[in-house]
């Protein structure tokens, strides 16, 4: 690991100038924290946090067949997605397992703009290169960085720079001039807070990062707090909470299965997924509130009330917002009802836990009121 040559994002020097503690993550040298995970977590929940997520993969899928080809491997309905919107979806293998989770949207009239996870991007891009046919074309946007601003003051901060951003609602996606350059902007993120993800040209990343940071409401936030924020928001982390063996039904991500696509059964792995929807999966992702003892982290066993091991924790840790330990993991569906008493086993000690609703902390996405 220490001999691994880590890639850097265009913001690497900016992180070091801010005194960040850097770690290897997804093959990149990334800031895990600046002043401390707890303080950064709380700042994001109360003000606005700025995140460098440039290690994630960005691409466009264009051409007359772009949508129909993209839909072969995801269960979301992108044909009816309106221009200016984006949608969360899942890249599926032939057995219905999740190769990656992603955001794909229509920020302009030029196919799909897609953001995928850092650790999977090479595999995802190779998958599309090998499997997209007809006139669908993959273009990897390696010349772009990705900056996220998240928190209850994020919108005020950004609207001060560009008033049109006030018009965007949760999951809106736009291509517009911001800070004098061509950007892709979506009102989304992975913290449960309101905010934006902004794709900017690499050459302008540091200038834009520093410009946004000049606002006293904004602090830079590392990957440590990003992880505890997304855990509180009940959002799965690929490679941990979901992976190529997990189906969307097991992963409690059935909201990502569009009605029309289910009816047409027209995506990779549809046989397994539709069968699990009809008959129930053998395991399902649940949220656990750990009532005592140490944090239950990835790999900790989950037991029933009698101590029989029934599953494993896939991510967990202390919740700074709630002041107690929380976790996600997989159990057979008969143990998944809210309020079910379970145990988590940490270093040989069983601690009481209870199945609770996701998200752990209420999300604050900026949704437009229904007309």
């Amino acid at each position: 690991m220490t001999d691994e040559i880590l890639k850097t994002t265009p913001l690497n020097a900016a992180h070091r100038a801010l005194g960040a503690r850097m770690v290897g993550f997804g093959g990149y040298d990334m800031p895990v924290q600046y002043e401390g995970v707890l303080a950064e977590h709380r700042w994001t929940r109360e003000h606005a946090g700025l995140f460098d997520v440039s290690h994630m993969g960005q691409c466009k899928i264009t051409g007359a067949d772009a949508i129909s080809q993209f839909e072969r491997f995801v269960p979301g309905d992108y044909a009816i997605l309106k221009a200016g919107k984006q949608k969360y979806s899942l890249l599926l293998n032939e057995s219905g397992g999740i190769i990656d989770d992603l955001m794909a949207g229509k920020p302009d009239h030029d196919g799909l703009f897609v953001v995928v996870n850092a650790g999977n991007k090479d595999e995802d891009f190779a998958f599309w290169s090998a499997n997209l046919s007809g006139t669908a074309t993959l273009t990897v946007l390696a010349d772009r960085s990705l900056i996220a601003i998240q928190g209850p003051e994020a919108a005020e901060v950004m609207v001060a720079h560009e008033p049109v951003l006030a018009e965007m609602a949760f999951m809106d996606s736009a291509r517009l001039m911001l800070f004098g350059v061509d950007c892709y902007v979506s009102r989304s993120g992975y913290t449960g807070e309101d905010g934006y993800e902004i794709s900017v040209p690499n050459a302008d990343a540091e200038r834009i990062w520093n410009t946004i940071l000049q606002d006293a409401r904004v602090k830079p936030i590392g990957l440590g707090a990003r992880d505890s924020l997304r855990l509180e928001a009940g959002l799965p982390l690929h490679g941990h909470d979901i992976d190529p063996t997990t189906s969307p039904v097991e992963g409690a991500l059935t909201f990502a299965l569009s009605k029309s696509r289910k009816e047409a059964a027209s995506f990779n792995g549809a046989d397994r997924i539709l069968k699990e929807l009809a008959e129930g999966p053998s395991r399902v992702r649940v949220a656990l509130s750990v009532k005592e003892g140490a944090p239950a982290r990835e790999g900790a066993e989950i037991a029933d009330a009698d101590g029989n091991v029934i599953g494993k924790v896939t991510s967990g840790g202390p919740s700074p917002t709630l002041g107690r330990n929380i976790a996600m993991g997989y159990v057979p569906p008969k143990y998944a009802d809210l309020g079910t008493d379970l145990k988590v086993i940490v270093r040989g000690k069983a601690a009481a836990a209870e199945v609770v609703a996701m998200p752990f902390v209420a999300t604050r996405y900026h949704r437009k009121p229904k007309a």
Binding site: V32, V37, L38, G224, A294, P295, R297, G317, P318, R347
Partner: protein
């Protein structure tokens, strides 16, 4: 006060050794959110994992720098684990061990040697 290469400190008063983790270790861990201290009466051997300290991100073992019997544990860390960050070589102590062989401390680093050791990491 003496230090180990694993960043524990030990301070001897008679045959009672008070043990904690160094300022360097507390800073490297980041925010400490949970500490598991040993049970009183437990016999530990030098090098045993005898306590666990957890930061937001990870759990780390704390190794006994000396052999002996645990005679007191800092249970206050159960409700205030952040004390380890605030005062690692004071109120953030983990346990007191009645040492079976005080000469074992001779093999550990003094402050100057530990500071020198930190520059090599």
């Amino acid at each position: 006060m003496k230090f180990t290469k694993d960043h524990e400190w030990v301070s001897l008063d008679g045959d009672i050794a008070t043990v904690g983790i160094s300022k360097h270790a507390a800073e490297a861990l980041g925010d400490v959110v949970f500490v598991e201290v040993p049970e009183v009466g437990k016999t530990v051997s030098k090098g045993d994992s005898f306590a666990v300290v957890e930061s937001v991100k990870a759990a780390s073992d704390v190794y006994a720098p000396v052999s002996g019997e645990v005679v007191e544990a800092n249970d206050a860390l159960g409700t205030a684990p952040e004390t380890v960050n605030a005062d690692p070589v004071g109120e953030g102590w983990f346990a007191r061990i009645k040492v079976s062989d005080a000469s074992a401390l001779d093999a550990l680093m003094d402050q100057a040697a530990y500071d020198e050791y930190l520059t090599t990491l």
